[in-house]
Structures are given as C-alpha cells and as structure tokens.
C-alpha cells in the first residue's frame, strides 16, 4: 500500500520539537543528540543507511537548522530563504531527521525510511520532500548546483545565503573543482561550503586512497576563504557559519574536522560503519550511549 503523501509545504508540528531555550547552543546540542538517536533508529528499522556519516554530520546539521539558516517550513519555496544543499546525499538518516525536527514533515514519516514507495528515498528527492533543494546521491553534484544558486543571488543582489555540505572523500570528484574555480572567480561571498572532514571514505582513509591534504591550501588557492574548525564543537559551528559574509569578498570553505560514527564508542572512526547497520544489541548499546 502506498505510504501517505503529505502536501508539499504543509505545516506540520514536529513531535520532536523541543522548547527553544534562550541559548541557541543548548538547542543545537539537544537537536544534535536527537538527530543521532532518531537517525540510528531509522537505520536500525530499515536495516539500511549510512550511520557513520550521519553521526559525523549531525552537529553541523543541528547548528545550521537551529542556529544559522533562515527558513520557514510552511513556505519552503520562499525566494528569499537560505538554501541548504545536502551534497553527501547518502547521509539521509541525519538529513531527514533534521528536516523533520525543523518542521518540514511529521516525525512519523521517518519510520518509512527506504520502505517501498516511501518519500524518504535512500537519497533525497526535492519533488517528494519539502526542504530538499536539489536531488543528490551521485557525489560531486551539490557544490556546482549550490554555486548556481549563489550566482542567482549575486545577480539579483539578494541577501539569502547558500550552504552546501559535502563529504571529504567526495572532493575526489573533479566536478567540485570546476565549481570551486567558478565560485572563487565570481567571489561568491554568499556561498558557504562545509566539508565533513571525517577522513574516512567508503572503504578506507581518504589519505590512503587519494589524499586531500593540505586541503585548506587547496581551497585558498582557488580563491576561497578557509576556516578549519572542530565539526563537533557547537559554538565554533554556530559562530563561524553564522557570521555575516558581507564584505568577505570570497566564498567560504569551512573544513569541519569530524569523527565518523561520533557519539557511539564502537562506531568511532571505524570505516565499517560507513554503511554498516546495527544488530539489536548494538542498537540498544548505542541508545544507552546517546544520552
């Protein structure tokens, strides 16, 4: 039986929404924990997913959606919204969880993750889900599309910002460097790239596969401003991503040093959790640790 389809842009309260406390860092911390728990439940229920990358990105997504981005889930096509492009489209566990937490669709939908005819495909589809800007999945697509969005903003003198999150192994795709040239050339200060630098790709360490270091120098050489931060430090994320880009005159690359599987001891920096799925015992242990 087809799963229920919700009207795009329908305002729905997220059951998981917590009180917005005065300190945004408290909210970000609470949301990041919820994203980890809920996405791991999705992966456990589906017995499919990419939980290692979900966990390395969870704090970045929480900081963006609960501290940085300007958006209205009831009006997801608002021309003036900030855009977020999830280029590492395989990490839909964390991405769908944060969209639900932000109010784009009801939390219950998360339990349909990767089920037949679910709107929650293994990789995001903008035609079925509000809050998705472009369909990703093949790597190296997000930054070039985000560059186009930022150019549209530049042409119009609009003040919306465009953010894109890539993996680090993903930067081995040449299409990123085409876009890096164009964004640097056009001085797209309204564009921010966040690299989830967990140093692990599908089967091995990035530096053992096709090394990226010195990654910061590469972006600087392409005309970007670079910040290297701890991608699990909510304050750093909030302050660096939230800072006004006005007058910077360059696109911003935030290299967020992260740990694949961050938050669960047996998954930490463990390549087998790229697309590993938990047993019941592992799931229960993870939930005991994620508190």
């Amino acid at each position: 039986m087809p799963l229920p389809i919700f009207a795009l842009g329908q305002a729905v309260p997220s059951p998981a929404s917590m009180d917005h406390r005065n300190d945004p860092l408290d909210t970000i911390r609470a949301k990041a924990l919820w994203i980890r728990r809920r996405s791991f439940q999705m992966v456990y229920e589906a017995q499919l997913g990419h939980p290692g990358g979900d966990f390395s990105a969870a704090d970045i997504l929480a900081a963006l959606y609960f501290g940085v981005l300007r958006y209205d889930p009831r009006n997801p096509s608002d021309p003036q919204r900030d855009r977020f492009v999830m280029s590492k489209g395989h990490c839909t566990g964390a991405f769908y969880a944060v969209l639900a937490a932000a109010g784009y669709f009801p939390e219950e939908m998360l339990s349909t993750y990767m089920q037949p005819e679910s709107r929650l495909n293994g990789h995001p589809n903008r035609n079925y889900l509000p809050g998705v800007e472009t369909n990703t999945g093949p790597l190296g697509h997000g930054l070039p599309v985000a560059t186009g969005i930022a150019i549209a903003g530049q042409i119009d003198g609009a003040d919306f910002r465009t953010f894109v999150l890539t993996g680090d192994g993903e930067l081995q795709e040449g299409s990123n460097w085409e876009a890096a040239l164009t964004a640097g050339h056009r001085r797209l200060e309204n564009l921010t790239l966040i690299v989830d630098r967990n140093r692990l790709q599908q089967g091995a360490r990035t530096e053992e596969t096709a090394g990226l270091d010195p990654l910061d120098d590469k972006w600087r050489a392409f005309g970007w401003h670079v910040e290297v931060i701890d991608g699990h430090d909510h304050r750093q994320l909030y302050e660096v991503l939230g800072a006004s880009p006005r007058g910077r005159g360059r696109p911003l690359c935030v290299i967020a040093n992260t740990i694949k599987g961050k938050g669960v001891s047996f998954m930490h920096d463990n390549v087998s959790w790229h697309h590993g799925v938990p047993t019941q015992e592992q799931y229960e242990q993870a939930m005991r640790e994620l508190v």
Partner: protein, 319 residues
C-alpha cells in the same frame, strides 16, 4: 504549394535564429539568463553578452558545472538557457543532466549547439550523433530537433514558455526554410509536410528538407511518400507514427546514429502498435573524417539516397 515549387535557395544557420530569439525573450523576461562554458561565440551569444553582461554566466570550459549551475540558477528563480556544443554538453555532463536537471525536474533549457556532424572534419570526438539516444532515456526531458529557422524560433519560444526541462538540438549546418502552408508548432505534435500513402518518411532536423526533396523525386515514379517532420522526439507523437505505419512502410531519416535516436523511437512505437517494415537511415557509429556535407553524402543521407532507400523499403513492403 509543393516542395519542389517552393524551393528556397537561401540557406540559414539556425544558431542565428536561436540567439535572436533568446535576445527577444530576454527583452521581455528579466528572469532569462544564458549559461555558457566558454561557448559564447559558438553559441552566437556575443551580442547577448554585450547587451546583458550580468545575465550571461560563463563558467569556463566546464560542462559539468555549466549544467549544474543552470540547475542552481533555476532554483534561484532564473530561466537559464544553457548553451554549449552538443557533443560535450550531453556526453561530458550526462550525469548532471540526469540528476540535476531531469530527475530534479527543474526549469532549465539546454541548447545543444552544432549538433550531429556539423564539426565533420574534427572527427568523432566532436560529432554529436549519440545525443538523442542517451537523452531520450530521461523521460521527463523534452527533446526538440528543429528543421529550419522558423521552427528553431518556435522551439525556443515554446521551451521558454513551458515549465520544466527541455533540450533543443540546434544545427549549424546551412538549411533552407521548409515550405509550409500551415505554420503551427506544438511540442509533441508531428507536422505532416506532404501527404502520401505508399510509405511514410519520418525525419527531423537538417534531414527534413532532404526528405521533402526525396519525396518529390519519388513522385516522378508515381510513388506517393508522406513526409513527417518529427521535431519533438520526446514526448513522441505516437498517433502520427501509428498513422504513418498504416501506409505499410516507414522510413526514418536522421542526422544521428541509427541506434536509439528518432529511428529507434519510431521503431518502438511501430512494433508495439502496427508492425510494418521499418528502415532506419542515419550514421553507423564512429565516422571517418570529412566535411558535414561529405559525411551525409557518403552515408547516403541525401535526397537521392533517401529515395533509393524508400524504393528498397517498398520492395520489402510488397513481399
């Protein structure tokens, strides 16, 4: 007016029509932008750049990015015309066309310039005789192959008017204006340029005027060939193809590989609905070096070659 009496000796480069039409559209609609990969001159967009320097985005020699940036510009509310040599645009950036444009279903107009064998002497790397085959699989991507300047303008205007992804295959090979008694263009609607019930010749692009000349030649032998301009390859005008099959023989002619393009599309419809003999004219694969005209001649894609193929097909029809 018949094709032979309407012979117009003036020849046109449809790229000129493309650029004039885009400029005309851009005057009226500020959302229209052009996106190029160092393909300003080859797209005949030098004047557009002069008039609207801020509305031309040149990403450099980077086809993946030219397509993806088009998708992003659409997200930002623009109506982008992404224009580049068809061979590079469709082959180098095929995954961007699939994921960022078609699957994402965005309002981007892709213009495949100098398609087919226009760059004849430059060799198979620069021929674009596979583009329709691989784009035809992206089912929501509208594909239009105009036959002359009038139809090029209609196609560009129709592409701008519709919401959704479109690919227009523009030729730089000189073509005459197609003689028409009725001027009506509609995406997805085939145009019957000549009536006839002995067989049907289905062509598009630069082959349409040659198909008309072939039909005129066949008429001297008393053979009545219907000539159909199938400028929209997706969505296909199934009804016109099934009606064509009622003649008992269908000949397809295209400036494209014989595999998977217009001929393949027509054969799919004929076999499923009204099986009759089908002959497909086009190119066999990687081609030798030679001018565009030489290549067409060498592979029989001329009025005389089409007429010969039609006669051979009629023999099959009678068997």
């Amino acid at each position: 007016m018949s094709a032979e009496t309407a012979r117009n000796t003036s020849l046109f480069d449809c790229r000129d029509t493309f650029s004039r039409t885009v400029e005309s559209l851009a005057e009226a609609d500020p959302r229209i932008v052009t996106v190029v990969s160092d393909s300003v001159g080859s797209s005949k967009l030098v004047n557009f750049r002069k008039r609207w320097p801020d509305r031309m985005v040149n990403v450099g020699i980077a086809e993946q990015t030219v397509v993806a940036v088009g998708a992003g510009l659409a997200n930002g509310g623009k109506v982008p015309f992404v224009s580049a040599a068809s061979c590079f645009l469709t082959a180098r950036a095929l995954e961007q066309i699939k994921a960022d444009i078609a699957y994402s279903n965005v309002n981007v107009k892709l213009i495949g310039q100098s398609s087919g064998v226009a760059y004849g002497e430059l060799g198979p790397t620069h021929h674009s005789i596979e583009d329709l085959a691989w784009l035809r699989l992206l089912t929501n991507l509208t594909l239009i192959v105009p036959s002359d300047p009038w139809e090029t303008e209609q196609a560009i205007r129709a592409a701008a008017a519709m919401e959704g992804p479109v690919f227009v295959r523009v030729s730089r090979m000189p073509v005459p204006a197609i003689p028409r008694t009725v001027h009506h263009f509609q995406i997805g609607k085939a145009e019957i340029l000549r009536e006839g019930d002995d067989l049907a010749i289905i062509a598009n692009g630069v082959m349409v005027h040659r198909a008309l000349d072939a039909a005129a030649t066949l008429a001297f032998d008393g053979i009545k060939a219907r000539v159909i301009n199938m400028s929209t390859v997706n969505p296909l005008d199934d009804a016109a193809i099934i009606a064509a099959a009622e003649t008992g023989a269908v000949l397809t002619v295209e400036e494209h590989s014989v595999r998977g393009g217009l001929g393949g599309a027509v054969a799919e419809v004929v076999t499923a609905n009204r099986p009759v003999p089908v002959s497909r004219m086009g190119f066999p694969g990687f081609l030798p070096t030679g001018s565009a005209e030489w290549l067409l001649e060498h592979f029989g894609l001329t009025a005389a070659g089409i007429a010969d193929a039609a006669r051979a097909l009629l023999t099959r029809k009678r068997q």
